[in-house]
Symmetry: none
Subunit: 210 residues, 2 copies
DNA sequence: TCAGCACTCACATTTTTATGTGGTTGCCCG
DNA sequence: CGGGCAACCACATAAAAATGTGAGTGCTGA
């Protein structure tokens, strides 16, 4: 039995969802609320498996509610439910630990499926939302700079530098002499056009070499 | 009629997929290939709507194939198909413009649904993959974990360290004595729980202090 | 087969960092 | 008004890193 908590300001929709979900085999609607003003207390009191959270609500909105819940509970599954799949809200929601993001126009059958999916650790998303997420993701990560073509060994050394290892530690970790570590590092500096450990580390992060 | 192109090295699976998809109403399998060695030419010749792309193939693998296609064609929908939902591949795939990422264990009915969804601009994803994507996303965007409460001056010094400045340079840049730089840095190390410049730099990046 | 390159190691020297132990100012807040 | 703290400075020493020069091995590809 999947225990569901509802947050939705529209009384008709809230009723409708309660009927639909509560009337289905395997689902139980614990309660429904019209805003997130006491969301933390309510979640703690009811201890649901899945929360359906509308975004556009008066008072404390869904994103804010999501944050508040996540501040004290990272286990409960939270499905954002909204009319629009606007970029900003999607971004905010998933950045703050929402487990899924579905549109209100989702057909009833699908909705139940999504809730079940979220409950078992999935991340149900309306297709259009998924598309947005992928776009955001790829736009964020596309500018891998140059290659610097470090050799495997050099990459390995650089990784250890990033992890805060000293030359001595790297040497013992890689089973080579400390002087060998030195020459690797000298080579790395040449390739990255830097001349200190910390610059190399910074560059490794900036250019996502590691 | 959705025109589909298949890339899958396993002959049985390729045949099976061809049967399944080609035998379904509204779908047409144009061709199937066992590797991506001539992927660009093939895609241009057949001009499919959707490409099903296996990741683990000998020769040019699926990720590489994806890149090559995207270099010349950003319109065709590409669905990655794989046995594992390992982090690295998912990341690579979506960073390079895949439209979806589904596991081979996906039931036949779902598969057709996914292809149709991709064709209409959706981003079908196996739930476990979607979960991963959300995790990656939120881990990339989580606002600075701890605070470490560095003072303004300390933040300034750390910033210069990240920029590759030596103590001497920091001193002249900030118009303070090198010994003052030292004491600032010692304090920073205490607060960040590190004991070397490069560790501090790494932490600055990881925890987005800068 | 020969040049190029990655990888390995050695020795020496200088520079930079890290650590420790002091101290002085000036500000804010109880 | 006095304690706490950020910011400043000094001296000393040990450890680590950076730089230079040189050299052997083994693989690869022209």
């Amino acid at each position: 039995m999947i225990k569901v908590l509802l947050y939705e300001d529209n009384p008709q929709l809230r009723e409708g969802l309660t009927m639909l979900i509560g009337g289905s085999e395997g689902f139980d609607v614990l309660a429904g609320f019209k805003n997130c003003n006491n969301v933390v207390e309510e979640v703690q009191a009811f201890n649901p498996d899945v929360i359906l959270m509308d975004i556009d609500m008066p008072g404390v909105n869904g994103i804010e509610g999501l944050k508040q819940i996540r501040a004290v509970n990272t286990a409960v599954k939270i499905l954002m439910l909204t009319v629009f799949d606007d970029n900003k809200n999607v971004f905010q929601a998933i950045s703050n630990g929402a487990n899924g993001y579905i549109l209100k126009k989702t057909p009833p059958g699908k909705l139940l499926e999504y809730i079940a999916e979220a409950n078992t650790g999935g991340a149900p998303m309306t297709a259009s939302v998924a598309t947005q997420v992928l776009k955001m993701f790829s736009s964020m990560n596309n500018e891998k700079g140059e290659d610097y073509n470090l050799s495997d060994r050099e990459k390995q050394v650089l990784q250890l530098l990033v992890d805060g290892f000293s030359y001595k530690m790297i040497a013992s970790d890689m089973f080579i002499a400390i002087d060998t570590v030195r020459s690797h590092i000298k080579k790395i500096y040449e390739k990255l056009h830097v001349n200190s450990k910390s610059e190399a580390v910074a560059k490794a992060f900036k250019d996502r070499i590691i």
